[in-house]
Amino acid sequence: MFEFKLPDLGEGIHEGEILKWYVAVGDTIAEDESLVDIETDKAAVTIPSPKGGTVVSLGGNVGDTVDVGMVITTIDDGDNASSAATPAAAQTRKAPAPEVEATPASAADPASTPRSETVKTPASAVTDPASTPHSASPLRVGPVPAAPATRRKAREMGLDLHMVPGSGPAGRVSLEDLERFAAGGGTATDAEEDLSASAGAISPGETGGIPFLEIEALPDFRRYGAIETKPVRSIRRKVAKKMTTSMILVPHVALMEEVDVTQLETFRRREKARREGQPGGHLSLLSFVTKAVTECLKAFPEFNASLDHFKGEIVYKTYYNIGIAADTPKGLMVPVIRGTDSKSILQIAADIERLGSAARDGKIAVADLQGGSFTITNVGPIAGKQLIPTINHPEVAILGMGRADEQAVVRDGDIVIRTILPVTLTFDHRIVDGADAARFMKKLVMLLSEPLNWLTEL
């Protein structure tokens, strides 16, 4: 029996998503024949089978995330000396899939034949998962300093390094720390795993420690009609994760305004006609708003910040990187326009164009999706008068743009036709207050409604 563990397919890859199985349980496979397609942060690759034989079990379904080191296939290669594999502290994190019970890891006997759809739990994870407090936060976040030997030992012991107090410099965890921690009754890995469970596989009835929160079991939709199901994967899953986190973590408040952009639009149309064909020459309204927002961020730095809730401090950024929500075939992506304070509106327009199409073509570099300090989302071109966007955590605020339309408005006692842009500023009330937001908005309105005054400030 040969247990094939997911290798590190890139350099420093920790997990991958199953895209496709080439075999089913019971199939025979020859060495080097295609076994499975796995997508990692770096690339999607086909893994050829390292052994020939009969497929005994598969370690996950399409859409599941599997950790490096986890057994992804067991192959009966006629060799009875079963590779006495220590169950790695690695797990499949299931994508909610049809016909699969979303049960959390059971402390299954690791010696028993691995069932293809069971989440394996390390031998030492004896804590009853139901009683594991999901609100229990690990001691620390981010990478924990420890030697490779210590990491390996921790894996073998089924310990999560984040839980172990480190006695070395910068909290470095040593072998002794592990032993001390284990002797004192450690917390098993599954607490952390469940916390980070990216697919959101939870049991009905869980509360996450929040009073009155009860996540009810879903009805059997098939009782009401035909259904289809599709696993939540890739970008969809990332969006789901980020939005849920932001909504639960951040007290959102939204401030709405209608901006008279008549003057700006007249100017913009004229410039656009003049610059047609050059990069950024289409000069979208969004590029002007991006520049105006940058000016507001300069004036109100707390909107260009992040709350470090681990350290209890506010991080002010002195760079201005504006994320622009882009609608792509794969779902929502947010390309980041860097250094908008030192770019002209024309350059910003060109960047939005270039990064937007790279995102839509799936060719955008990871670096261009990182490092944003504020986000703008513009649903206007599709439809929608107003929207209340969710903050792109850990940023402090996000601006939503609705559809700019001609409206009848009252000016100096007369009803006149003006072009009105609805905007919404959603902000993190932990860091800024309503009055701060109103001041931010006031400046934004001033900049966008009286662009000629703004010129002299640039």
């Binding site: 290798p7 890139g10 770096k42 690339a43 050829p48 390292p50 030997a149 060719k363």
Partner: protein, 363 residues
Amino acid sequence: MPLKNAHKFTVPHLQVLSEKGTLDKKLDPGLSETQLLRLYRAMTLAREADQRMLRLQRQGRMGTFSPSTGQEAAACGPMLALSERDWLVPAFRELGAMLMRGVPLHRILLFWGGWEEGNVFPGVERTLPIAVIVASQIPHAAGVAYSLKYRGEKDAAVVCYFGDGATSEGDFHEGMNFAAVWKAPVVFICQNNHWAISTPQEKQTGSKTFAQKAIAYGIPGIQVDGNDPLAMYKATRDALDRANNGEGPTMIEALTYRVSMHTTADDPSKYRDTAEVEVWKSRDPLIRLRNLLNERGLWGEEKEAALLAEIKGEIDAEVRIYEHGIEARSDIAFDHVFASPGVELEEQRAAFLESRGGGSTNA
């Protein structure tokens, strides 16, 4: 005063065997049947080994490596011109060259598998290990060549490989300049495979060719169809002759293409057009040479099948040595701290071994 020409230069382009299979009779280096067959075998072995390594990496049996599929002519053609007296100084994408040199495949597997032993080639002389640090090998090659001259080894020269990206490094300048000034017997082969990870040639240099960079150092530069094994052989042969005549270095730019990913940790579809890749795939150097062999009645389907089977057996055997043939100790790191480890280090070793349950042998 009217402007005068301070210096004129040209950058020749060499092709011997065209993509369509036409052979330029005047330029044909006249390789013997045995040589042609040896070359074809070497290129096929390089291709098959490369593909096998990709599978080994995907299976977690080997680490990251830099595939060389598509660059076999540029790597192997020159090697036919080398004698045992000459030195080989590779970069990291010359699998074919190293195998032709006699480096056992398992040593290369060991290297990419993270084993120090992969830097040692028992029985193979005058061959430096793989150089991953881009361009670092160029000054090394210049130094080795200078030492040959210094010692009066007139029958020997150095062949040094590097990539297009390497030409942007300071080491390239230092090595080229030194070798040129001292007329060191070295052949610089720049494998212009059009990409340095995700940086295309246009972003790498303002020069139209890489070969012309040689002019600035006062040495000849020649651009060669790098997918034409005969041209690669001929250019290297000529350059070695120059070197042996005491005329100093030559730079060869081999125009070829990295058909696979930069390394196994890279996804080229994120930054380049598949259409471009398809064009280059159709210029496969193996097919070009095979067509010539077919035409001369030296090859056929049966011979091809037999060769592939033979090569597969060879690769299998090397993989077995790689996976089972080397003893591994978990405390090996302690060996290389001091020439003679002190008491303290030995105590640490003992403590370490004890913490691992006593034994030291461990894969």
